[in-house]
Symmetry: C4
Subunit: 179 residues, 4 copies
């Protein structure tokens, strides 16, 4: 079996980024990979994610990309995000070393907390690294307009993360050729 | 007339699965088939469905795929599912032998029942088979996040099940070639 | 300028139909046509419509297609339909001979009326033809599930009716070829 | 790096226009441009916008296109528009000469104001040009149905403006070729 994705031909970088006082946040879809079965059929091998990237501000309009931290939302976590009402909050926990010998050494938590007035959210990422003895925290206030962009774009992306966009019916022209 | 679908070239398996204590549930779209008319036009021959598959747990993290049962949601049943509010419930009945001599011998019922707190649903399938003298029952609790994934993915898939995605306008490049 | 649409290669028939006691109703998108400008650019020439077709019942499970009547919803009328709440009603009026010498001779009115319990709609078409001295009336009760399919499919189709699906960015592969 | 868009092959004009008593308003998506990186990957260079164009009425069913004014909504401003409830209002401010020596000389403000009865909006554009000593104002009443078309079409277009539609998984046929 072989992994296949668009990246094989040249990836497309199209992050949606917001730059705020203390940190920046970008939202970027990562496509699933597919494995080819002996039958010639394809199966989703690794589901796609919505990758959130946080990096800190280090001065006016300056941000330090080298200190970025990632949090990849699974399809079900995306379902949680896009179903959030204006007064609701969510929290997600990831252990990037889960199932390895370092399990539990790095703990990431993402919190999306509605503002009291319902006009946006605080999106924050906490990374506690017991191996490096570090704790990092990013907080990015997100307006309703920005969160709507994220929800709309993530809803659009969700079937793609799941591999369901592969199910598109071929166009008539293609059908004629294949018959 | 000839049936045509993507499967002719190699199917794509991209189920959305949730594994719970007593059973697992996967959700998977099945595309429609088209018939070519004498005029050269195409007509939807058999509408697509959202195939639900249930299979039982037989131990910790072990599930018995051989004992799976299917329930295929028609476009209208998908419409019912995606319009469900957080407090609503639905029930669907299928007779897989309808219109045959075995009509009424196997009865399948799918129930989607909102949890009292509005934070998810119990999805259960009941299969009563009078020929085999068996009754099987699967119950899968589904969270709001998981149900949102199912609703979003089914909303995306619905026009595809109906064959409406074939109606996409050709891109300019294609138009130039055809003129 | 030349009209171009998928039909040139073979149309795709994918109506969504509901068969009820007194009449049947089908919903079917009709794509826009494009004109090629001298500059080589394309412009939408005639917007697409959602074509509603009604035809009467003439016995058990028998319907008379020869007596069908059409009502084509413009993009703005589709906007009206998809924004209807469960308790709302809408009415649309068309004169198929508008701006011709027969203007006013045939009057079509489409009514979508919420059921008192909010569980569906009565969709009815009235055609008064003063030339033929005929009046025809079709009434089709539509469940919430069926109306959800219509709304979801019409929302999907709307950008296609407007020609906005032509605006899709070319995939990387295509870009490479064009550079 | 080179800019690439569909326009290279022939643009597609598909504006959604409403003609009212004092002015007309059209809504039209403008795709992003991409830059090719040295790695062969692509990056969004300039995000797409939803271009609003206003032009005044100069008599019955006559409008003066030469006096049109534009207002291009960014993805985040589109997020603001599509999240507006039936009783909400929004205002946006643009300085087309921002960061140039003429900064502040031309000020554009777009206002979307809900009607008191919740059945539509007043959409108005104000352009104050200190260089030309002119002030222009356009007001276009938009019905709920028309605003629903704009919201649905802008929601559809939003991932395209961001470049996320480039992330579509290749179809199985394409995969076979690439393996």
């Amino acid at each position: 079996t072989a992994r296949q994705n668009v990246g094989a031909k040249g990836r497309v970088f199209a992050p949606y980024s917001v730059y705020k006082g203390k940190a920046a946040l970008s939202v970027d879809p990562v496509l699933p990979t597919f494995a080819k079965l002996d039958s010639g059929d394809l199966r989703v091998q690794r589901k796609g994610v919505i990758m959130l990237t946080f990096w800190p501000s280090i001065g006016e309009r300056k941000y330090d990309w080298a200190r970025r931290q990632h949090f990849g939302l699974s399809p079900t976590e995306v379902g949680s995000l896009i179903s959030m009402g204006p007064k609701e909050s969510s929290e997600f926990f990831h252990d990037p070393s889960m199932l390895s010998s370092n399990a539990g050494q790095v703990r990431k938590s993402l919190s999306i907390k509605a503002l009291a007035d319902g006009n946006g959210y605080f999106v924050s990422l906490n990374v506690v690294n017991n191996l490096l003895k570090t704790t990092e925290r990013f907080v990015v206030p997100v307006t309703t307009a920005e969160f709507t962009v994220m929800k709309t774009a993530c809803s659009f992306a969700l079937p793609h993360l799941m591999g369901w966009d592969r199910l598109t019916n071929p166009l008539p022209v293609a059908s004629n050729k294949s018959s």
